[in-house]
């Protein structure tokens, strides 16, 4: 088991967004979370990665987490290369290792040609590719993705799923917030978040 979520509860004022949410994740499996807008999917992910504190419950993680937030969170006045280097420093990745990983991700998601461009000058789709690549930079063992393909063209969307399946085969556990019904069959297990509870 790589992630254990136990009895998580979170309220915003009188609005109880999460009520006793519990689940576990094992390596080499692809999990999906579905639910209506405002059902608490992003809140749950933010609690798992430590951005927000739950009102109650426990989270245990046994491995490196990679997190791709729903909104693009990049330094807009830095170039693509500089953003990658800054986050590599956060992950403590050695220089040679960083060069090899970032080159490979830039090649795979096809944004190498923009490496010297400032993020502010790039399209939303390209920004989202970088947003995702940063979550993958340190070869995470647990990958938490909040609607990671927003703005992707069809080719990149397909490549994303191929990459996710490769990671799963290498032992990575992946949790994806998804909206499309057609995506449900891609997952090994799907959690439905309804009225703050997982079903």
């Amino acid at each position: 088991m790589i992630l254990k979520v136990e009895n998580i509860g979170k309220s915003f004022g009188k609005n109880k967004v999460l009520k006793n949410v519990s689940f576990e994740m094992d390596p080499s499996l692809l999990y999906g979370i579905v639910g209506e807008n405002g059902s608490g999917k992003s809140t749950l992910l933010k609690i798992i990665v430590g951005e927000w504190k739950p009102d109650k419950g426990n989270i245990s993680v046994a491995g490196r987490i990679g997190y791709c937030p729903q909104n693009v969170l990049l330094f807009s006045h830095l170039t693509v290369d500089e953003n990658m280097r800054y986050f590599a420093a956060a992950y403590n990745i050695e220089k040679l290792e960083f060069i090899s990983r970032s080159e490979s991700l830039m090649d795979y998601f096809n944004f190498k040609k923009f490496r010297k461009e400032r993020v502010v000058n790039l399209s939303g789709g390209t920004q989202q590719k970088i947003n995702l690549a940063i979550a993958l930079l340190h070869r995470p063992q647990l990958l938490i993705l909040d609607e990671p393909y927003n703005g992707f063209d069809w080719d990149t969307y397909q490549r994303f799923w191929i990459y996710a399946n490769q990671l799963r085969e290498e032992g990575c556990a992946i949790l994806v917030v998804a909206h499309l019904i057609t995506e449900k069959e891609r997952f090994d297990r799907v959690f439905n978040l309804t009225e703050g509870e997982l079903t």
Partner: protein, 254 residues
Amino acid sequence: MKAMRIITALSMILKMLLRRRIIIISLLVLPFVFLTIVELTAPTRFIPFRLASLDVRVFIRESLKEIALVFFSVTSSGFLVSLLALNLVQIENEVNRRLVICGYHPFDLLISNLLALLLVILTIAVYIGLLINEFVAVRHLPMFIFGLMLIGFVYGCYGLTIGSLIKGKLEGVFFIVLLANIDAGWLQNPMYYAEAHNNEIIRYLPAYFPSQSAIIAAFTDYSGANARFYSILYGTGFLILALLIFYNKMRIKK
């Protein structure tokens, strides 16, 4: 590795600062515009005035124009550094949070921001110090520049505190402008201070010690050591507050 992280963060912060054109323009143009307006409008009449941190029997006699020029150079130094400090911690707050989630320690980020701020303080103080020297013959220029650095330090740390505390950009700017305007831009003016009631209140405001230090160096041969010491103490107080708020907001919450 920790030092490497701080160096990386510092270089990225400086790149981001230098790439915002409005910041460079503000740094270069605003002090020059302020001082030119004062030069063109202030009267040249000589008046005697007393400095709060010197002995009550010490009177200084200078022209109103020179006093205004020195005073506005102190004000603009504090104001500019404060706004930049606010910008440093506030504008990329969410992305900094992601860096922390990815492994940066909040203190590493704050130390990098602080180092960037110190470079900004030094640059602004030297620039304004050299600029004012073209308008007024300042008596002890190095000490005067150090006084400008002190107002930068106190107001910069105030900016860091406000930036760590307040999420909204507009609200942050409002708090900076409010204090800088009332304190550094009005109450600490030696002309106003001399006639003020309850001037003990003014002594507790952040710009008091740094302005005293700069004005003493500009017009007298007296030592401003006390004012310099208390300025550092005041700025350190704001810095500790900023550190605590920033750490509490940025840390991983489990």
